[in-house]
């Protein structure tokens, strides 16, 4: 009889999943479980957690590569990296507190399984772009690997990216190998206040089109500025547009000055020093402005110029508060709770402007009733179902977590 299982190595994980497939027992796939309130609610009596698979197994700072067992706490990974002046460049965001969970619980494999990246994604790519290798167990209980520990690898199909963002529905990751980057020597932030949304996104895009390597480009509506932890910024009480530069100190000074000059027509530009910059971007990484609210929350990826149009169109149907990341291309949109989270309207808007929307925060019955992940066009849905079956023919891994029927 399977129960809540915490395998201590990949062989045990393999045995457990083979048994689950043989007995057609659905299992919830977990790291720490910190993101369990996200996705479609599942009806699984048993779970397999990677928390028993812990520890950093390889770290070569001069090759910018680290391997860690799946259940290694993200915090432990980041501490080890910080000790050598390095970091996970894609800046994984903290999701758990959005749904009432404790912060700092995430595991490293959970970060890749959900492919969550923060503000720096526009410059350096998402979690999926940093995953070099994976060892995992599929639904049949087969142990497999893909990729490796080197930066470049086109040997065979790229299952690392295939597993990224699959929310535990294809395989249980046992060990991940990923690219790491040096922590920049200096950070500075340029801030503009009170810009209308369309203009703000124009500023972000204009900054991204300079050679100064902007590594964060965000815009917050006033209602969300009011929730910032940073007191000085919160007190501004106006829409806030921010651009981050990271580099050697001489370069951030030079590039900051050039960028200010470039954007001066848009109004007064304030500058945050290194300490204030770090505090600001750190709280954005924790999604501070979206915490502590009972509003339903959508995460929408679209093209930057479409961002404000999407928000305006949604606002025509329902009250909506928005935090724009990725130069305007990622919209975190809070809407007042309803029984369907406005899904039909949100998806109609997306169909017009392009992109996809995921319902991150809503009550379980709402997440059961509407499509949490963007519904797929028929051809892609067919491929996705068959892909799921190639990894997990009995459909035991996180059944229904992403889509109702597979």
């Amino acid at each position: 009889m399977l129960a809540n299982i915490r395998p201590v190595d990949e062989r045990e994980c393999s045995r457990v999943l083979a048994e689950a497939t043989a007995s057609h027992t659905p299992v919830a796939v977990l790291g720490s479980g910190s993101k369990q309130q996200i996705g479609r609610p599942m009806h699984t009596a048993t779970s397999v957690s990677t928390r028993g698979l812990r520890g950093i197994t390889l770290y070569e700072p001069s090759e910018m590569v680290m391997s860690a067992r799946a259940g290694t706490p993200l915090e432990q990974v980041e501490e080890a990296l910080a000790g050598r002046g390095q970091m996970l460049a894609f800046e994984p965001v903290e999701l758990a507190p959005l749904t009432g969970g404790e912060p700092r619980q995430a595991t490293i494999a959970g970060v890749f399984a959900t492919n969550m990246a923060g503000a720096r994604r526009i410059k350096v790519g998402a979690a999926r772009d940093h995953l070099l290798g994976v060892r995992a167990v599929n639904g049949r209980g087969e142990i497999f690997k893909s990729g490796g520990r080197v930066m470049k690898n086109v040997t065979g199909y790229d299952l690392c990216r295939g597993l990224s963002g699959s929310w535990g529905t294809l395989a249980v990751m046992c060990e991940v190998t990923f690219r790491v980057m040096p922590v920049p020597e200096d950070t500075c932030t340029l801030v503009l206040l009170g810009l209308p949304e369309e203009i703000a996104i124009e500023v972000l895009c204009a900054a991204m089109a300079t050679p100064f390597e902007v590594s964060g480009a965000v815009h917050l509506q006033p209602a969300l500025v009011a929730r910032l932890w940073h007191e000085g910024l919160r007190r501004q009480g106006q829409a806030l547009t921010a651009l981050r530069l990271e580099n050697f100190a001489k370069s951030t000074a030079y590039r900051g000055a050039r960028l200010k000059e470039h954007l001066k027509a848009y109004g007064e530009i304030h500058e945050l020093d290194r300490e204030n910059s770090s505090a600001f971007w750190d709280e954005l990484r924790q999604l501070s402005v979206l915490q502590g609210s009972d509003a339903q929350l959508w995460r929408i990826s679209t093209s930057p110029s479409a961002g404000p149009k999407v928000v305006a169109a949604i606002s025509a149907y329902m009250e909506c508060r928005a935090f724009y990341d990725w130069s305007g291309g990622l919209v975190w949109a809070e809407v007042l709770p309803t029984t369907d989270a406005g899904a039909a309207d949100v998806r109609r808007v997306i169909a017009t402007h392009g992109g996809h929307a995921t319902l991150i925060r809503a009550e379980a019955d709402v997440r059961s009733a509407v499509e949490v992940f963007q519904p797929l066009e028929a051809g892609l849905q067919k491929l996705s179902r068959k892909l799921k079956a190639a990894f997990d023919p009995a459909g035991i891994l996180n059944p229904g977590r992403m889509y109702a029927n597979f």
Binding site: E60, P61, S62, E63, V65, A117, A126, R128, D129, E142, F144, K145, G148, R149, V150, M151, K152, N153, V154, T155, G156, Y157, D158, L159, C160, R161, G162, L163, S164, G165, S166, V183, P184, M208, A209, T210, P211, S251, S301, T302, S303, S305, G329, L330, G354, G355, H356, T358, F373, Q374, L376, E377, G379, L380, L383, S384, K386, L387, A390, F391
Partner: protein, 485 residues
């Protein structure tokens, strides 16, 4: 050039070959006579790619002008069980575009239009027959560029880059194809057209884009792509560092990265490579050193000067024989000309077999020693070129193609070198792909389970296994793996 003999190719399906004339007629009806090449001379032009030792005359060649035409051709071939080999510019070094006597080549070279350039959102939407450099050329006037830069970028198509997940010298900073493509329009083998991703970041659902890119034309034929275009840096400048040993050069790379500097490119050349390239490009490479690094950084003039002086200080700990910073745009161009022309320059003095293994940087010294032992054993010379920042090693095994025994020894040496790369913690191919060349070595890197899973994914997209047959997966064991599925 004589054919190498190590990689077996399956016997063509005689029934399909016998129907060649009728199939050509059918294809002409589907896409117009001018888009189908049926005569032998015409087909001969498509018999090989850049792995010229292998040649096969294709059944027919189709050059469609639209997604709709690709769809019609694939649906027809799917219905009649005819194999299909997709082709960009035919620059594959691994035989990825090698045709077969019973397969139709679908070349995308006529589909090379730019559909949309959007500077605000920093994307370009293009047909995939456009050349790699063609994308950068279109956006250059606005100081933008498309980042992946394989050495063949003047000729190779985006289609081929998508198939092989191509990289290049500058991918240390900017990533490879999979990091720079946001969306694809793709025709599946049954003729269905799917759109994966789009003008936004990160696809919904499974990362099919990630699976398709680098699948060597075995999952579908892409016809349009949305790619990221980036604003170019204010400037870039390379420096040359020469060392007495390869180990010192490798340690210097590790120290630069360890100091928190990620240059846009770090290229390594050993003594034989330096000499050949200098003779060709007159780049001012140091001839008295055993190993040389080209380190390039980007930024404003002042930033570049600062960074290169920091790198110079770091390098001094490894007793460099040469430290030379480029003083002009002409010098920079010459330095890169030598490197980018390396394969051609070496090709002028000898036939060579170009390997594409990847190793952890820390193993560079010992791997180079072992490579020279392998080549000595086979009585062959070798020159090594290495994307040092990301561990991608290109040993060029020199041989005489008119000497069949030597050609076979070169291929054997190459296989031993790749096995060495895997044993050192690396992999068989960093950017050239598996193709036919490394197909039979896949078991060196993967278990049967690993391969069976990849083959099941192939079956998801192409149930009859008609796309780019006889590539990537070893021929033996295919049916067993799929039956077990």
């Amino acid at each position: 050039m004589r054919a190498m003999s190590l990689v077996a190719l399956p016997e063509p399906d005689a029934k399909i070959v016998a129907r060649r004339e009728a199939i050509v007629e059918d294809l002409r009806r589907l896409v117009g006579a001018e888009a189908v090449i049926g005569d032998e001379d015409g087909r001969r032009a498509y018999e090989t790619d850049a792995l010229t030792a292998y040649r096969r005359l294709p059944l027919a060649v189709v050059l469609p002008a639209s997604t709709e035409e690709v769809s019609r051709v694939l649906a027809y071939c799917h219905q009649h069980g005819i194999k299909v080999v997709a082709r960009g510019a035919g620059t594959s070094l691994s035989g990825g575009a090698l045709p077969a006597e019973d397969a139709v080549v679908v070349g995308v070279s006529r589909m090379n239009r730019v559909l949309e350039i959007d500077y605000m959102n920093r994307i370009a939407r293009v047909e995939v027959g456009i050349t790699n450099l063609g994308i950068s050329d279109i956006v250059k006037a606005r100081d933008f560029f498309y980042a992946p830069d394989p050495s063949s970028q003047l000729a190779c198509t985006l289609a081929g880059n998508i198939g092989m997940n191509s990289g290049g010298a500058h991918c240390l900073k900017y990533g490879v194809t999979t990091n720079n493509v946001l969306g694809l329009k793709m025709v599946l083998m049954d003729g269905d057209v799917v759109e994966i991703g789009g003008a936004h970041l990160d696809s919904p659902g499974y990362d099919l884009l990630g699976l398709v890119i680098g699948s060597e034309g075995q999952l579908g034929i892409a016809t349009e792509a949305t790619v990221r275009i980036l604003r170019a840096a204010e400037g870039a400048r390379p420096m040359l560092l020469g060392f007495d040993t390869s180990e010192a050069a490798g340690q210097c790379v590790a120290a630069i990265i360890g100091a928190g500097i990620v240059p846009v490119a770090i290229e390594f050349m050993d003594r034989p490579a330096i000499h050949v390239c200098e003779a060709f490009a007159k780049a001012g490479y140091p001839l008295e050193v055993e190993a040389m690094l080209i380190v390039e950084v980007e930024g404003s003039n002042e930033e570049i000067t600062d960074l290169l002086s920091v790198i110079t200080e770091i390098a001094k700990a490894f007793a460099p024989k040469t430290i030379r910073i480029s003083q002009s745009a002409e010098q920079s161009a010459a330095i890169w000309k030598g490197r980018k022309a390396a394969f051609g320059a070496i090709g002028r003095i000898s036939d060579y077999y170009c390997m594409d293994g990847v190793i952890p940087l820390g193993k560079l010294g010992e791997v180079l020693v072992a490579i020279s032992h392998i080549c000595d054993k086979h009585g062959l010379k070798v020159a090594n070129i290495f994307h040092a920042g990301d561990g991608n090693l290109h040993p060029l095994v020199l041989y005489d193609a008119n000497d069949a025994a030597q050609a076979e020894r070169a291929e054997q040496a190459g296989h031993e070198i790749l096995e060495l790369c895997v044993a050192s913690g690396g992999c068989l191919t960093g950017e050239h792909g598996v193709g036919i060349e490394k197909r039979d070595l896949m078991r060196v890197q993967f278990t049967e389970t690993d391969l069976a899973l990849q083959m099941r994914i192939k079956t998801v997209f192409d149930p009859k296994w008609l796309l780019n047959p006889a590539k990537v997966f070893p021929l033996e064991g295919r049916s067993a793996a799929l039956e077990a599925a």
